[in-house]
Symmetry: C2
Subunit: 257 residues, 2 copies
């Protein structure tokens, strides 16, 4: 995993009020592979709370840098992306996180990108907004526009992480069942349902429509289909009057990992 | 805004440890238009902390329902989506929030959908995972897989809110500048840059390549282009020896709202 792009992304909190939010921010950053935290215009906050909420990401908190002003915190950044929830000033230039994430990664390939979050109560001042080259706003309902600081950081970092394409889904993800495999399953069940007297030949086509819908929708992966085939084979075995009672045949069943 | 779909989505916290996380969960839900909170197997938590972190979303906290078990909390739900961060059991059937959000909305059109989050320390038990019809996992780095509970809720609710398409971007969003309008701006600048002696006729074509790149990239909306045209006109006025010194002509400038 090439995380160099993420290494070039700096989260800047401006004048944050609560240590807990700073700690939670560190944890969200760590989840999404972003490690560079700067605090502009820091005030005295509850450090114990910050460390507690940072959890295993306490290194990000300890390695944070501090600056007297936002301008100094982003002095080395070519691109400065500011968060705004408010109406008015600059409003029409605001982008959504999903829109702006590719631009952030593109800029991160060329240098450090700052993503700036304002105070919990008042956001960024107009002066601070002027420092930003771009603005973003996290979509919310009209009724509740104010996000918790660390949750806002999480949404932005999450969008960047997803856009970067670094996430690898679980390797053993079960393969989707092919049409042909599903058809084999339906054929086996058709035969068995006739045999056990669930339906007769006359109504088989009609009944199979429902069976196909239910099993086709329910059994989506190869493993799913193999489980349904296993039940089918076991049913046939169980109804066989000649079956060997000493062997509970279950070769075909697949454990649900 | 038709929020009926969102009304059919229930967030279920199983046996949560911290009141603060329950409160933060309420706030995240409110931001994303989801109001139905259930607690399964509740324990005694710090209620003051819950109310404090819920902020303006305290109604969601107060209107929460409580159930002795997960099975009871989701008894009326056809679709139960469980959160898992761990490896192993059921792993290969896990989907990402962005994959599963459309399915959640589709199911919400037909009835109540539960989205289930486990304990902060231990997640969901195998028995509880078996109650779920689907599982999801929030993408993270391999190094820091454990998310804060309320941040996990935020990511899932955010994805649902975005998928629902309810968010309306700021109405006055500035229109992208057309090619023709940009060409007019370049033409005005070409003329002025020749006039002020920034370039001569011989090198004008070459110099304009750089100017076009910089201004074309920088001025993206109609407002942006009008600002650059305003500067241009003002420059021409300022260098006119015949200009009326008593009038500072600035008809063309556009304030940066």
């Amino acid at each position: 995993m090439n995380t160099k792009l993420l290494d070039n992304i700096r989260i800047v909190l401006v004048n944050p009020l609560y240590g807990g939010n700073i700690g939670s921010t560190c944890r969200a950053m760590a989840n999404m592979g972003i490690c560079d935290l700067a605090i502009a215009q820091p005030r005295s906050v509850n450090m114990d709370e910050a460390v507690m909420m940072a959890c295993h990401a306490v290194d990000i908190f300890k390695n944070r840098t501090e600056f007297p002003s936002l301008a100094e915190a982003v002095a080395d950044c070519g691109t400065v992306i500011g968060s705004t929830a408010r109406e008015g000033l600059y409003r029409q230039h605001v982008q959504m996180p999903r829109e702006i994430a590719p631009l952030i990664l593109e800029a991160a390939a060329r240098g450090t990108v700052a993503i700036v979050f304002g105070r919990e109560d008042k956001g960024l001042t107009n002066e601070e907004l002027a420092v930003c080259t771009h603005l973003f706003q996290i979509p919310t309902t009209q009724e509740f526009k104010s996000l918790n600081l660390s949750q806002a950081v999480m949404v932005m970092c999450y969008e960047i992480f997803i856009a970067a394409g670094f996430y690898e889904p679980p390797a053993e993800k079960s393969v989707a069942a092919s049409f042909a495999l599903k058809e084999r399953m339906f054929e086996m069940w058709r035969e068995t349902l006739l045999k056990i007297g669930f339906m007769d030949n006359e109504r088989a086509d009609h009944m199979m429509l429902g069976i196909r819908r239910i099993m086709g929708r329910g059994a989506q992966t190869e493993d799913d289909v193999r489980i349904m085939m296993g039940i089918n084979k076991q049913t046939k075995w169980a109804m066989d009057p000649e079956k060997d009672q000493t062997v509970v045949k279950n070769k075909c069943s697949v454990s649900s990992k």
